[in-house]
């Protein structure tokens, strides 16, 4: 690889991702930048709930641990960190990070906070949904927050300002990779083929280990070496936007054309039209080629004009979800579990219409129940009941009913567990991009 390559790594591909492989990557990867992608649509909604409960919270709950582990390595190696760990409260996340940096004695460390993704005052109630009939006004639940997906153009000013750590809320996943790549190579904001190529790199990297052998192993068909010690990915990006995807040599996992291809179209619909805030990316003619052990070159991505609208995720308080189960094993376990399921359905009819109820028999028919697949004589099954309701009491009643099966249900049932967790609902709308004004605030430790 020529010395001109830009080296960028992934240090988290989702909110609960592992930490120590990220530290290994910053320490040994000779990276220019590392991205921690920690948001999903529902993650943001849950973060808004956290913030409503405590105005100092609402950012990624692992932020403190991640910063304490990664800031020293980034400081030592001169690696810029870009993250959306700010979730529903980027300002509080940046302030916490600043306090940690001062505590660690990292004088002069520049921390950038990007805001402006919270658009809750900018979206009218009659705003139609992006991909389904109806408007926001049709949802009979309290809104917890609204966030627009910000693109590379919101992140590049922070790089221009020389920030060492860039923290935002709803920064779009691939944009966090595209921004430092475009910034390094001085790509023009109108150079859509190059922005498409940088977006491909971001798309391949944004889910972390999903391109280095995670979420891939299928024993006997797709064996992955040392998956327990899987490494996070590195992209070595050339000035034309082509890249080699690789990982640290000492780590587990693998980078092969197959791992790259599965990620290439992960959550992609039309491969020729992948919409981001930055570009309409075209992955339909991408070339994927192994160039060495755990080295795969990707090239030939392109792009055309960016969408005129930005996607906004609207989060609602969705009430509560209760889950409860009891297990049955041995002869006729499936029949006994089925009887338990019938009993729960019959006794829960008193809640009819007030809650959504689902009854599964894990081991015989659960994930593929609606698909019509069912075992015939399973010997080890678990009744699993799920209920969602605005009303917490409905969930409590369901847990009680399932627990009562221990004495009142079929023979041999055991292992009751039950839990109630809060729920969120999310919807998507589109708003004109000029309505959104990202802001930047840079503070030195």
């Amino acid at each position: 690889m020529s010395g001109a390559a830009f080296r960028i790594g992934t240090g988290a591909g989702f909110s609960a991702d592992r930490l120590e492989p990220a530290v290994d990557l910053v320490e040994g990867g000779r990276l220019d930048a590392i991205v921690l992608e920690c948001l999903g649509e529902r993650t943001v909604a849950f973060a808004h709930r956290d913030r409503m409960a405590d105005p100092k919270r609402g950012y990624n709950s692992l932020l403190e641990r991640r910063m304490r582990a990664l800031l020293p390595a980034c400081r030592k190696t001169g690696t810029v960190m870009i993250t959306n760990m700010g979730a529903a409260n980027p300002r509080a996340a940046a302030e916490r990070t600043l306090a940690i940096a001062r505590e660690l004695g990292f004088k002069g460390l520049k921390i950038a906070c990007i805001e402006g993704d919270d658009v809750s005052t900018l979206v009218p109630k009659d705003q139609p949904f992006m991909d389904e009939p109806g408007t926001l006004a049709d949802v009979d639940m309290p809104v917890v927050g609204m966030n627009a997906y910000l693109g590379a153009d919101a992140i590049i000013p922070a790089l221009d300002a020389g920030a060492d750590v860039i923290i935002g809320g709803r920064l779009a996943d691939p944009s966090m990779f595209l921004a430092p790549i475009a910034h390094r190579f001085g790509w023009d904001a109108g150079d859509m083929p190059r922005l498409g190529a940088g977006t491909l790199v971001g798309h391949l990297m944004e889910c972390g280990m999903q391109v280095t052998g995670g979420y891939f192993a299928d024993p006997g068909m797709k064996d992955v070496p040392d998956l327990a010690q899987c490494g996070f990915p590195i992209a070595e990006v050339a000035p034309d936007g082509s890249a080699v995807i690789t990982k640290l040599a000492k780590t587990g996992g693998c980078v092969t054309p197959a791992t790259v291809k599965e990620q290439l179209l992960y959550e992609v619909h039309d491969p020729a039209r992948y919409l981001t805030p930055d570009v309409t990316a075209d992955f339909s003619r991408v070339e994927v080629a192994a160039t060495g052990a755990d080295r795969v070159r990707v090239s030939n991505a392109s792009g055309s004009a960016r969408p005129e609208t930005l996607k906004v995720t609207v989060g609602f308080d969705g009430g509560f979800q209760g889950e409860a189960g009891v297990s049955y094993a041995g002869p006729a376990a499936q029949q006994r579990g089925q009887l338990a399921a019938d009993i729960v359905r019959e006794r829960m009819t008193r809640l009819n219409g007030k809650a959504d109820l689902r009854v599964d028999l894990i081991g015989a028919s659960s994930l593929f129940a609606t698909a019509g697949l069912r075992a015939s004589d399973a010997q080890d099954v678990r009744l699993h009941v799920t209920l969602r309701s605005r009303d917490k009491e409905a969930a409590e009643l369901m847990l009680w009913e399932v627990e009562s099966l221990l004495c009142c249900g079929p023979a041999g049932g055991g292992g009751f567990r039950g839990a109630i967790v809060p729920c969120v609902l999310t919807k998507s709308v589109l708003i004109p991009r000029e309505r959104i004004r990202p802001t930047l605030d840079v503070t030195s430790a």
Binding site: Y215, V286, V288, T370, L373, L387
Partner: protein, 114 residues
Amino acid sequence: MSAPHRNAPRIVRDIAHARAGDKGNTSNVNVWTYDPADYGLLKKTLTPKHIKQAFPHLIRGEVTRYELPHLNGLNFVMQDALEGGVNRSLNLDSHGKSWSYLILGLPLDDEESG
């Protein structure tokens, strides 16, 4: 029961690998053959019509197939195929992450292997 040919491919998983993703109530599954020689068989087996017919209660909307012949891949976009999606589905797998193995479990449409 007649003895199957040992090692003869029977289901899609024998010739291909796949990954599923979700956007709202739409599922997409990308499928890739290990051997380019099997791409024709994959295309013959996995038609949108066949996939929809295999799981009529689950896949309620339109199924679109995108082809990447130079990578021996197909991408299926299945509307209204996630029991309401992660917001509404009470399926334990509310994202439909396991839908890749619904596709990989389908029998191959291989007349010669009967």
